[in-house]
Amino acid sequence: MADFLAQYGFLIVTLVQAGLLGLSLYFPLQAGQLSLASPGFYAVGGYVAAILLTNPAYAGLRETLGQGVFPLTWLAAALLCGVLGLVVGVPALRLRGIYLALATIAFVEILRVVSLNLEVTGGAVGIFGIPQAFGFGERWQYIFLFGPLLVLTLLFARQLERSRVGRAFRAIREDELAADAMGVPPTRYKVLAFVIGAVLAGVVGAMSAPFLNTWNARQGSFDASIAILAFVLIGGSRNIWGPVVGGALLTAIPELLRFLADWRLVINGLVLVVASLYLPQGIVGALERWRRRPPPRRPVPAPSPAELRGGRRTP
């Protein structure tokens, strides 16, 4: 067991992390918004943690809080990314389709160039020597952070989907104009979905900075944007398990192909092409076709006709 964890522990944590990043893109997609901003928020979250954990300016804070500084980094990353998501989302979400995607790519690139040049982010070298969370001695132990986060996120996503807000997201995804006409304010919910994704990516970043030990501008790049998009599309974009399965699988494949040595990245590219061609609904989407959904059950008792009008009366 110890051998197994030593050998595969890092990989297993990385699979979970990829699934979480996939989910961060999945939330805006729920509301029909193709945002590729996740790596930007992931990078910001990581920088927040890296700075709080290494910058001499926060030495006093670390002294006082002890291990409590780690949850603080998550909170700080969530807050900052939430606010940043709001600031970027409100203007950007007026854009539709590919335009939004391109605007978010621009956002990621701007953040990357800025972090390459700021002193506080360590410039091109980045920040290194980030202390291990809770004194973890081995990498696999990070499963105790990413694992619960994944479970919580999946629960959150499932509950959200069944709620009024989840329905509003789906309505906007299906037809923004009709949703608006039926009383669902599109901008508010698009921004909400975007911010949820931003917060999640930020927290994942804040957990990843100690896990990876170093943090630099390469963490938030265009390649990462597309990689995360691939997690979601190849896993399946209409089911919460899609991004998780896609993220885990696409992260595992290069490792499984290790025997191919230098050819594995070439094969990895081919996998993307082939999967796009043969699994257009994603893996989970393809599996779902085999499962017939039971028809919805009508609640008892049946309502009396008077309730139809609802509670509201003419003013």
């Binding site: 959150f156 509950q159 959200l160 069944r162 709620s163 009024r164 807000v165 989840g166 329905r167 509003a168 789906r170 309505a171 299906e174 037809d175 104009l177 009709a178 949703a179 608006d180 006409a181 039926m182 009383g183 669902v184 304010p185 599109p186 909400l192 959904r293 039971p294 028809p295 919805p296 009508r298 609640p299 049946a302 309502p303 006709p305 309730e307 139809l308 009008r309 609802g310 509670g311 509201r312 003419t314 003013p315």
Partner: protein, 259 residues
């Protein structure tokens, strides 16, 4: 059936509604008023501006000039979801259901403005009572349009006539006071058309609604509507009861000239 009382209050008041697209004037200085509880028809040849007028009235297209007010509240200038909250709900000429969602879900979504559960209430499941009410009303509305036994099917899989009925159920789910129907009979067969007249009346009575209908099929309009307005080339050329409008020489000319 129930003719509206003579001294009915005005619910909708359009004043000088105008919409230009580039050089084209789609709706030109249109003024009319709709009384509470009536079924008000909007007819006119193709391209007369009827759908544009509906779009102006529901906030989907901002007017170039003019106003619409609902019981004294200004409607023009509001976003579509605010218009829906105010109590105006509509269907679309080219049916705009949420096609990849089930019939049940289509109707549930439209109750958005009359419910209030936020993100956390949904996630922590603290809005159970509200959810139960939404669910019940959705089923009851599907019952009303005769689609309850197919509640789980995707909207895209329904026949044309059923989609039109589902869209009416969805519009009713917003608990409107004014229902705007854009060509509800289009694509329906003769039997469905015949049933539609009594169905719209029934809905009007049951929900205390005021109804506006855009319709091409003249016999249906004459049968159904208390009053009719005729639009031609964006201008309102006649308003009145169906019989007198039908005799109006301007209306006859518009229709003969159009064909």
């Amino acid at each position: 059936m129930n003719a509206p009382p003579v001294q009915a209050t005005t619910v909708l008041e359009a004043r000088g509604l105008t919409r230009r697209f580039g050089g084209l004037v789609a709706v030109n200085d249109v003024s009319f008023s709709v009384r509470e509880g009536e079924i008000f028809g909007l007819i006119g040849p193709n391209g007369a501006g009827k759908t544009t007028l509906f779009n102006l009235m529901t906030g989907l297209t901002p007017p170039s000039a003019g106003t619409l007010s609902y019981r004294g509240t200004r409607v023009t200038g509001l976003a579509p979801h605010r218009v829906a909250a105010l109590g105006l709900s509509r269907t679309f000429q080219n049916i705009r259901l949420f096609r990849a969602l089930s019939a049940l879900e289509n109707v549930k979504i439209a109750q958005h403005v009359r419910t209030g559960a936020g993100l956390w209430a949904g996630v922590f499941g603290t809005a159970r009572a509200e959810e139960a009410r939404v669910e019940e009303r959705a089923w009851a509305l599907l019952d009303l349009v005769g689609l309850a036994d197919r509640a789980g099917e995707l909207a895209a899989n329904f026949s044309y006539g059923d989609q039109r009925r589902l869209e009416i159920a969805r519009a009713l789910a917003t608990e409107p006071r004014v229902l705007l129907l854009d060509e509800p009979a289009a694509g329906m067969n003769t039997a469905e058309k015949a049933a539609l007249t009594s169905f719209i009346r029934e809905v009007r009575d049951r929900f205390d609604l005021t109804v506006l209908v855009i319709e091409h099929h003249v016999p249906l309009v004459m049968n159904l509507c208390d009053r009719v307005a005729v639009l031609n080339f964006g201008e309102l050329i006649a308003v009145g009861d169906p019989a007198s409008v039908q005799r109006d020489p301007k209306v006859i000319e518009a229709y003969l000239g159009g064909e």
